[in-house]
């Protein structure tokens, strides 16, 4: 600690409670009434402070600078709509086969401007690819371990024991240089996740080995603009508590770059909580209410007209809502601590004719817009 802390504890003189009578007497005696002139002068910025207009009213609660997404090789904004449908073919029995390749890779990623984290990843990104398929599809996932630690992929869903991706089941942990093909039918439909289940579990999850696993119902869901948001966090100093909270990895990213949507359109969010070290996370939408589908395994909402939902570790669900007004609207967990530590963003709601400009402001193109509407169409549009 700093010198004065030790000074104070050494001399043991300062344990009298603040605000006590002695404190008042002491400060009165010295006339520390708070009328001292400002003695501080201007300083040079460490790096460019982003425009405050992008921050829906949270003042100076921000991270200084911006993350280099190119260097990371992934962008949280692009990840919102980045569905991985796999390599699609048809089996002799008429079943759709989707083939994926997942490579475990060690990679240092920038999780906040200037803060680097030694991540363990699937395909070099955190979260890993958003695997998307339709109920009943045959999934064949080739897992290659290109790291120096043993890893697995454990899918939430229904499958045989040897495909469970846990130590002691089937091949168990896949050793460095090893590979294994996980194969099973996609069921039930819903908003699921996958993650590494090697020991120690906490470390393998919080280091970044997880991702979204979306199984669409056969009959599909109504057309909507869809996003996937993986709530995650990082313990940068390995003290068993997180320093940085986010959706899709980078703190305050959607505060710096609000997500463009159109007024009146249906918005659907696949929300996943893969937080480690904290029991729960939550999601609160400003100036709006939504329908919630717990685990996404029903076609009818399990909660209607709510504006805050709570998810424990590994929980997930689907949110559906429309915006009645244009403007910037915040979303964040109603856990203030997480909000102030990076898990905060906003939607920029615009009229349809203003949408191209909003896309440009967010740094995304028409392809991103198309992918955001493609999900509900089963990847076919």
């Amino acid at each position: 600690m700093s010198w004065w802390r030790s000074l104070l504890s050494r001399r043991d003189v300062l344990r009298v409670g603040a605000g006590g009578a002695a404190a008042l007497a002491g400060s009165a005696a010295l006339g520390q009434g708070g009328t001292h002139p400002a003695g501080h002068t201007g300083t040079a910025p460490v790096s460019p402070v982003p425009s405050t207009t992008a921050h829906a009213g949270h003042g100076n609660n921000l991270m200084v600078g911006a993350v280099n997404h190119k260097r990371n090789g992934f962008d949280p904004m692009a990840m919102l709509t980045d569905w991985d449908w796999g390599k699609v073919s048809t089996l002799p029995n008429g079943q759709t086969l989707r083939e994926y390749t997942m490579i475990a890779q060690d990679k240092e990623i920038e999780i906040a401007p200037g803060i680097f984290f030694p991540a363990w990843t699937y395909n070099g990104r955190v979260p890993g690819p958003t695997l998307r398929c339709t109920e009943g599809d045959r999934l064949r996932i080739t897992f290659i371990n290109a790291t120096i630690h043993a890893h697995t992929i454990h899918f939430h869903g229904v499958h045989s024991a040897e495909m469970d991706g846990v130590p002691g089941a089937g091949p168990g942990e896949i050793q460095p240089g090893g590979r294994f093909v996980y194969e099973f039918d996609a069921e039930p439909f819903g908003c699921h996740l996958y993650h590494c289940h090697a020991t120690s579990l906490k470390r393998h999850i919080h280091k970044g080995m997880y991702g979204a696993f979306i199984v669409d119902p056969k009959e599909g869901r109504p057309p909507a603009r869809e996003f996937v948001m993986v709530q995650n966090a990082f313990d940068t100093n390995f003290d068993g508590a997180n320093e940085i909270y986010a959706v899709n990895t980078v703190g305050f990213e959607f505060a710096r770059r609000p997500i463009p949507v159109q007024k009146g359109e249906l918005i659907r969010i696949y929300l996943i909580n893969i937080l480690e070290f904290d029991l729960i996370n939550s999601f609160h939408l400003h100036a709006n209410f939504f329908n919630y589908y717990d685990t996404g395994t029903t076609l009818e909402p399990t909660s209607r007209i709510v504006d805050t939902i709570m998810q424990a570790q590994g929980q997930r669900g689907i949110l559906e809502f429309k915006y009645k007004f244009t403007g910037n609207f915040m979303f964040h967990p109603h856990i203030s601590e997480f909000t102030e530590l990076g898990w905060m963003g906003s939607f920029q709601v615009v009229e349809p004719d203003a949408y191209p400009a909003a896309l440009k402001a967010a740094g995304v193109d028409a392809g991103w817009d198309q992918r955001s509407r493609q999900g509900a169409a089963g990847g076919r549009s």
């Binding site: 030790s6 002695a22 002491g26 005696a29 460490v46 200037g114 003290d239």
Partner: protein, 394 residues
């Protein structure tokens, strides 16, 4: 062959031989820097180490944090959290902080008067260094009014008690020789207490210094060096020759100790820990009154002038005023450590001198050096300091 040539040759070979190891050392260092010396595989992960120096609240809504990089390599602090929230800030100078470099971070944070705050600095590798603000209040800015008030505090805890303690002088003059020796033994006791206390305070400051200062051994070494210099200076001196000189040396040692007290009080006020206030000032005044007894004890058989008393009180008590100013306005933990370490050496030196005086008196009285009288005096001296300290320890 002429004589000067021989002399020049000797000179050249003398200095040449002295330089050879240095030249070879330079070559080895250059090799290590250039090639890694074949040890590259031994290099571990990067180590980040910074020390948070002074934390100040220069105005409403602003926190300033001084950071010193005492790690082996440059450190970048890209993000800052205050009270578990990421916060904007500016750094001066901007960019990476080189080894042994310093930067000042200015954070526009709406801190709350009287409440505790926590500042956490995140390095680029995600290491967290924290600083506490125990009770937020505006850092006192040097101004005439506060300068006078801090001076008054120093006066109350330093000069006044020493002067009051000196008022026992007329009483002490009427004491018998054994009783006076008891008082001198008592002086040794209180000086030993001050030496221990000053040493521990110096170590507390030293422990908080950036690692490269090596504060912990430095305190001991500075104290020993001070003691050595003072002993060497006083080597030819006999205590009976100049009792007034001994009084001045006691006053100087106590003065350095009181400087430390002033630093602590001033720094505490600067940190908003004004809770100590008047009560603490009363406590220090009571605690320090025995110091006056110790200072005048060697001169009871003499007749110093009143101005001598005034000067002695100023030397012993005045540094408390200086310390309060320094602690309140411009705290420097390095200087504080050095001052206190010097104080330890000075106090130990006068312990040595007064002990010799006690030994001489004991011998003249035909009593053993360590007897019930001297041991009793020593114990009472330590106990007086110990129990009056109850008023300033919470």
């Amino acid at each position: 062959m002429s004589a000067p040539a021989v002399g020049g040759g000797r000179w050249a070979s003398l200095w040449g031989l002295a330089l050879v190891p240095l030249l070879l050392l330079g070559a080895v260092l250059a090799y290590l820097v250039a090639t890694g010396g074949g040890l590259k595989t031994l290099q571990g992960p990067p180590v980040e180490q910074v020390k948070v120096g002074r934390v100040t609240l220069p105005e409403r809504g602003v926190i300033q944090v001084q950071v010193i990089n005492d790690g082996p390599q440059a450190v970048t602090i890209p993000q800052v959290m205050v009270d578990d929230a990421f916060w904007s800030f500016t750094a001066r100078p901007a960019g990476a902080i080189p080894r042994l470099g310093t930067a000042t971070l200015t954070i526009p944070y709406p801190w709350v008067e009287g409440e505790a705050h926590n500042v956490a600095l995140l390095t680029s590798l995600g290491t967290v260094f924290e600083a506490e603000i125990p009770v937020a209040t505006l850092t006192p800015q040097p101004g005439r009014d506060l300068f006078v008030r801090f001076g008054l505090v120093g006066l109350y805890v330093g000069v006044v008690p020493v002067l009051l303690g000196m008022l026992w002088f007329p009483w002490m003059r009427r004491l018998s020789a054994p009783a006076m020796n008891f008082i001198l033994a008592l002086t040794v006791g209180l000086l030993v207490y001050l030496a221990v206390g000053t040493y521990l305070d110096a170590q507390a400051f030293a422990a908080a210094l950036p690692a490269f200062w090596q504060g912990t051994p430095a305190v001991l070494l500075i104290a020993l060096l001070t003691l050595g210099v003072l002993l060497a200076l006083g080597g030819k001196r006999k205590p009976e020759d100049a009792p007034l000189g001994l009084s001045y040396r006691i006053a100087t040692g106590i003065g350095l100790h009181n400087l430390g007290e002033g630093l602590a009080i001033g720094a505490a006020f600067a940190l908003g820990e004004a809770a100590l206030g008047t009560f603490l000032i009363l406590g220090f005044t009571l605690h320090n009154i025995t110091e006056g007894v110790g200072i005048v004890a060697p001169v009871v058989r003499h007749r110093p002038r009143l101005t001598q008393f005034a000067l002695l009180a100023l030397i012993a008590g005045g540094p408390a005023i200086l310390g309060t100013w320094l602690g309140g306005f411009a705290f420097n933990p390095v200087l504080a450590t050095v001052f206190l370490a010097v104080g330890v050496g000075a106090i130990v030196q006068v312990v040595w001198e007064v002990s010799r005086l006690v030994a001489r008196n004991t011998a003249a009285l035909g009593a053993p050096l360590v007897g019930w009288s001297t041991l009793g005096g020593f114990t009472v001296g330590v106990a007086l300091m110990y129990f009056t300290a109850f008023f300033v320890k919470f």
